[in-house]
Each structure stands twice: as structure tokens, then as C-alpha cells.
């Protein structure tokens, strides 16, 4: 049975069991609530960060009363005839602004240092929904940096405790080796023994991390994302699909990440060998430049082909066919 749902005046029909967030993503555009912890590829994720709160102004066809409080759209299933307000509700926008302020309470203002800057979900979120200034005057919590294995660096200062990495390690890899220690405002993500992440897919925690808490040690301070050109590449890999993005400058590959969709979620998880060890341009087959939004800082100072939205390759001055996004 298909359920009818209206989000900010846009009506769509979805299957039973779909959440409001998934229905909004089906409609697309600016009415999609932002999500910091929910990840469609990870079972059980969502419901922690509260950035996706929306107002349900009509519960369903049978019971048209509005829901008493704002609900987390990532974990609330759609009911038939439901009417949802996201950006059309001032209450939602005001709450979201407050939630960004809460998320930033213990998040250091070290974007100039952070390798995630330029592709950070929290940066985008606070730019779109946050306040201009911070009212927080107290000391922020501080942790020592930890090397999780040779390739992953953990900055616990920047963590917003979204649990995405924990779900990734539990679900993508076999065995539980990475989790959350302690409780409340003392909680921190950690491996049980510092260097225990040896699984072939553990590098994906870097891609799922919405902030710069888990970063690539092999790319640490090498460059800034907006100076690099992102190219769709692939190789035959016995472990993963081999479909990745190479961040290049000239013919040098600075880092390799998985391909991300328009909601900044990884399309296919890649293995550690592809991510950390294949930094030679001859290891990969280059498909072409990635499509980058004009509003992203990564597109600054690059010539864009307006029709296709692809960066023109400055090396051979040829417009390359952009990848499907």
C-alpha cells in the first residue's frame, strides 16, 4: 500500500515503513532536512543529532491531530495523509539553529587546521542554519590525538558523537572493535586497544565521519580539498568494487575516497588497499572529473562547464564527460 505524504507542500507517495527523511529525499531539493548522524546505508543509525527535526502539522488521514512536539524525521515513519513542515516552519528553523549551537559547544573552531574543512557536514550545516557568533565562553573539552592504526587519525575534540563510525565498523566489518566509551558528556569513540583496527574496510570510517574527527593520516596536512581536482577512477580490486574518487593535483594522487552521492553518503564502500596504498596514477583508470556543485568551495577557481557542471581538465584543455550523479 502506498502512503501519501506532503512535505512543505510537495506531495509524494511512498511505501509503508519509509521515514519522513527518506520521503523528503525522494522529493529532493531544499526541503530535505539535514542529517548529521543518520546514514541510509547503516542499519540503526539516526535519532542522535536532532538536526533533522521537523514539524508534523497533520498526523494522518485517520487522526489529523498534529504531533505535540517536533519529531526526528530520520526515525519517524510516514503515515497516510501526513503533512510535514520543514523549511516552511519558523519553529523548525529556530530549533535547528539551537541544535547547531549545541553541536558546536564542544566542537573546536579549528577549521583552518582541519583536513575535513571544505567537505565537512557540520561546516555546511552551521553555515546554512547556525548563528553568526558563539555564546559559549567556557572551556571546551580536550583530548589527546590518537592514531587508530597507521592510516587513521582520531581527533576526539572534533567528534559530535554521531555513532556512524561505530555502526560502520560493526556492520561493514566482522567483529566489534570500535565503540563508544564512557557516558554522557564524557563519552568518546575509541578502539578497545589503540591499534586494533586492522580490518580491510576500516578506512570507511573516514568517509562516514561528518566532521574531521576521523581523518586520513596519509593525507594529513598534505593539501586542502579545494586545491585538488576530484576525478572518478576505478581499478580491478579483488576486495571491493574498486570505484573511487582520486583527489589529484597534476598527475599526483593526494588521497583516495569513496564516491559520495548528493546527500554526502558513500555509494560503495572501498577497501583499505584502494584507499591508502594506491597513490600512483598508473594504478587507476581515470573516468573523468566529478560533478561538483557550483556552491561548493571545491569549485572555486576552477573553470566549470555550466551545462554539465564538470570541471574542465586544465591539463589537456578538454571538456571531459562528467560522471552521473
Amino acid at each position: 500500500m502506498m502512503l501519501k505524504v506532503t512535505i512543505d507542500g510537495h506531495t509524494t507517495e511512498v511505501e509503508e515503513g519509509t521515514t519522513i527523511l527518506q520521503a523528503a529525499r525522494k522529493i529532493g531539493g531544499e526541503i530535505v532536512p539535514p542529517a548529521m548522524c543518520y546514514y541510509s546505508k547503516l542499519k540503526g543509525s539516526g535519532g542522535k543529532c536532532r538536526t533533522c527535526l521537523v514539524k508534523v502539522s497533520k498526523g494522518s488521514e485517520k487522526d489529523p491531530r498534529p504531533m505535540p512536539k517536533l519529531v526526528a524525521s530520520c526515525s519517524t515513519p510516514v503515515q497516510d495523509g501526513m503533512e510535514v513542515q520543514n523549511i516552511t516552519s519558523p519553529e523548525v528553523l529556530e530549533t535547528r539553529k539551537a541544535i547547531v549551537e549545541f553541536l558546536l559547544i564542544n566542537h573546536p573552531l579549528d577549521c583552518p587546521i582541519c583536513d575535513q574543512a571544505g567537505e565537512c557536514d557540520l561546516q555546511d550545516l552551521s553555515f546554512a542554519h547556525g548563528a553568526d557568533t558563539s555564546r559559549f565562553e567556557e572551556q571546551k573539552r580536550e583530548f589527546e590525538q590518537v592514531d587508530i592504526g597507521p592510516n587513521i587519525k582520531l581527533h576526539m575534540n572534533r567528534c559530535i558523537l554521531c555513532y556512524r563510525c561505530v555502526y560502520t565498523v560493526n556492520q561493514i566489518t566482522n567483529g566489534r572493535i570500535h565503540g563508544v566509551l564512557y557516558r554522557g558528556d564524557a563519552s568518546e569513540i575509541s578502539t578497545f586497544i589503540k591499534n586494533s583496527i586492522e580490518n580491510d574496510f576500516s578506512g570507511n570510517v573516514i568517509d562516514v565521519c561528518p566532521v574531521g574527527a576521523l581523518t586520513d593520516s596519509t593525507f594529513r596536512f598534505k593539501s586542502r580539498v579545494w586545491f585538488l581536482k576530484s576525478m572518478d577512477v576505478h581499478r580491478t580490486c579483488p576486495k571491493c568494487s574498486g570505484k573511487a574518487v582520486a583527489w589529484m593535483s597534476g598527475n599526483e594522487i593526494y588521497r583516495v575516497t569513496a564516491r559520495k552521492d548528493e546527500f554526502n553518503e558513500v555509494e560503495e564502500f572501498i577497501c583499505n588497499e584502494c584507499r591508502f596504498e594506491k597513490k600512483d596514477v598508473n594504478d587507476w583508470v581515470i573516468e573523468g572529473p566529478r560533478k561538483i556543485k557550483r556552491t561548493s568551495i571545491i569549485s572555486v577557481n576552477h573553470y566549470l562547464n555550466e551545462k554539465q557542471g564538470a570541471i574542465i581538465n586544465p591539463v589537456d584543455k578538454k571538456i571531459e564527460k562528467p560522471s552521473e550523479l
Binding site: L109, P112, E137, F227
Partner: protein
């Protein structure tokens, strides 16, 4: 159709006798020339006399240090991104234990170069800097014999550690900016 009433109609009429002597026209022209000889000169005798620059003149860059003498630049790359002439390049490095008195943050610019020939002195790097590290100063760039010499590295850009040799940039910061920096949550900018 005339757009203004100042246009003169060119004619081929015969000159009068006085006009054909040309002398009145020559004296009229000489009068203007002689008047300018005694008037105020547009130029100055440069090496002896120097023009006064504006307090916020945009000349050679300086990379500032903080009060404790540590380099403020963290090699975030925003100046290079903002630069319309693409004159700035940098290579970042990680601060090692024991270097806390040299660099303010855990990342610093190992190499920081400005090509002074490419630079158009627009000051956008200054506006882009989140760490109050780069400023333009009143000093003009020295002339050189080779183009290579105009690529200024950290040896020429970073200001001296000695307190009395520091370069004052407070004039370039508006009172509003200075007030803003006093806010408790802007401590990282002091």
C-alpha cells in the same frame, strides 16, 4: 544633430593679416608655458624627498607573529584561494613536540611564497585570513635584477621575533574588528 553646444564647426575661411603673422598665438602659448615654470611642481626630488603614504597603504606583505613570538599562519590556504592573481603558494607541515614556541597551532606553513610580480596588492588575502596572520604594510617591494628574486619566501615575509622590530598593523584593523577580537570566544584571534 548636436549632443552638446560646445562643438565647433570647421570652416576653410581665409586668415586675417594679424592671424597670419602667428605671433599672438605663439605668445599666448608661451604665456601658458612660462606660467607653469613658476607654478607648483607635480613631481618631487625622489630619493631626498619621499611622499607620505596612507596609513592603510597596501604594499609588501608581512606574516605576523603573536605576542609570544609564535607564527600565526596555519597554512589553511584561504589566502591562496582568495588571491585573484594566484600569487600565493604554500606547503603545510605538522608541528613537532618541542616546537610549541615557534608555531601557534599544530599545523604551520613550512613553505610560504608570494610572487610579488603576480600580486596585484588587492588585500583579499588579508580579508580571507582567519588567523590574522597576513597583512599588507606600507613598505613597497624593492626592485631586483632577476624575476626569481621576486618570489618572496618566509625569510622575507615573516616579521622579526624581537618585540621592537615587529610591524604595527593596528591601523589596518578597524575599531570594530579590534573590539570584536576582545570577545571571549574569539580568543584564538587575539
Amino acid at each position: 544633430m548636436n549632443l552638446t553646444n560646445r562643438s565647433k564647426v570647421v570652416t576653410n575661411k581665409q586668415m586675417t593679416f594679424v592671424e597670419s603673422l602667428y605671433l599672438p598665438a605663439i605668445f599666448a602659448g608661451m604665456w601658458i608655458t612660462i606660467k607653469h615654470v613658476f607654478g607648483k611642481k607635480a613631481t618631487i626630488k625622489y630619493p631626498e624627498k619621499k611622499r607620505e603614504f596612507s596609513e592603510i597603504y597596501r604594499g609588501q606583505h608581512v606574516l605576523k607573529r603573536d605576542d609570544e613570538g609564535r607564527e600565526r599562519c596555519t597554512a589553511c590556504g584561504l589566502c591562496a584561494l582568495a588571491c585573484p592573481a594566484e600569487a600565493i603558494t604554500m606547503i603545510a607541515a605538522e608541528r613537532q613536540p618541542g616546537e610549541e614556541n615557534l608555531y601557534r597551532e599544530e599545523k604551520y606553513a613550512k613553505v610560504y611564497e608570494i610572487n610579488m610580480l603576480r600580486c596585484i596588492y588587492c588585500g583579499l588575502c588579508e580579508s580571507a585570513c582567519p588567523k590574522e596572520a597576513i597583512f599588507l604594510t606600507k613598505k613597497t617591494v624593492d626592485s631586483e635584477y632577476y624575476r626569481q628574486a621576486f618570489i618572496y619566501g618566509k625569510d622575507k615575509l615573516v616579521e622579526p621575533v624581537e618585540k621592537d622590530k615587529r610591524i604595527d598593523v593596528t591601523k589596518r584593523q578597524t575599531p570594530e574588528v579590534l573590539q570584536f577580537k576582545k570577545l571571549p570566544n574569539e580568543r584564538h584571534n587575539i
